[in-house]
Assembly symmetry: C2
Homo-oligomer: 162 residues x 2
């Protein structure tokens, strides 16, 4: 079972591929899709879409888990993150891979045991759960791994919104 976790963001979209092997979670690959800040908005969105499409095409991913909108975000930011979520959902639909969504507090609860955990706590626990020898370099990357871990724990309860 191979899960692609995505933490959508306009400046940087984190991704984390996690394999569930005999009840153990193993990191396969993770990183950030980071378009150039000099690009136009449509170019940046295309860059993220191409990156996600490439990930979905390169490995036999079973399911995609996406971090949902966090509460208290302003409408302008929600729209900008919505752009990225839109092209992630599109790439998944085109690949025929089911998508699941989890709100940030649920992701934090699944990984840290506290829905109000800080990004640092999430990063620390993701490293422990996946038994990584080195710290994860960015919080977008650890958040993406966290949503993939959350999905494995919840067995796909986070059905995508309608």
């Amino acid at each position: 079972m191979l899960i692609l976790g995505i933490d959508p963001g306009g400046a940087s979209t984190g991704y984390g591929l996690v394999r569930l092997e005999q009840g153990r979670l193993v990191r396969v690959r993770s990183g950030e899709i980071r378009p150039s800040r000099k690009s136009t908005l449509p170019e940046r969105i295309r860059f993220i879409y191409d990156g996600v499409t490439e990930l979905l095409g390169s490995l036999a991913i079973d399911e995609v888990a996406v971090e949902d909108l966090y509460q208290g975000v302003n409408p302008r930011t929600a729209s900008r993150i919505g752009h990225v979520r839109g092209v992630v959902l599109l790439a998944a639909a085109e690949s025929g891979v089911p998508v699941f969504e989890y709100p940030p507090n649920e992701v934090k609860s699944a990984v840290v045991g506290n829905g109000l955990a800080t990004k640092e706590q999430v990063r620390f626990m993701v490293q422990r759960i996946l038994a990584l020898s080195a710290p994860i370099s960015s919080s977008d990357e650890s958040d993406a791994l966290a949503v993939a871990i959350c999905h494995c724990h919840r067995c796909g309860e986070g059905v995508v919104g309608r």
Copy 2:
């Protein structure tokens, strides 16, 4: 000069193709891209993306004008509209067509002369400006034609956000 105006929405995305011919605005085609309500969110987003891509592929469109977020919208709605805007911007980027954004009050000002005009007033004025014999059937369609008209009036001032 052929302009595609888009009014993005999750339930229905309006589109309006307007040609600027010797200072006169002519409607080429307009309508709604309306995915099935029974589809999942990723399927609906894909339906809208395919619809916009088809429009961009079928005619030599010079520029795309998209209605920007209206103020006072809640973050959840902003995110849902953001999904659609994301795939519209992606389709435009893939077609190499420049995109321009206009806030709703600017669109209303350009068409009705009042930034607080109602949807009915916009629909009435769009019908007059384009000299259409029959009323426009939906406000998503007339809003899309309105943003195309606004773009023609403003000569592409509405540079897409970064």
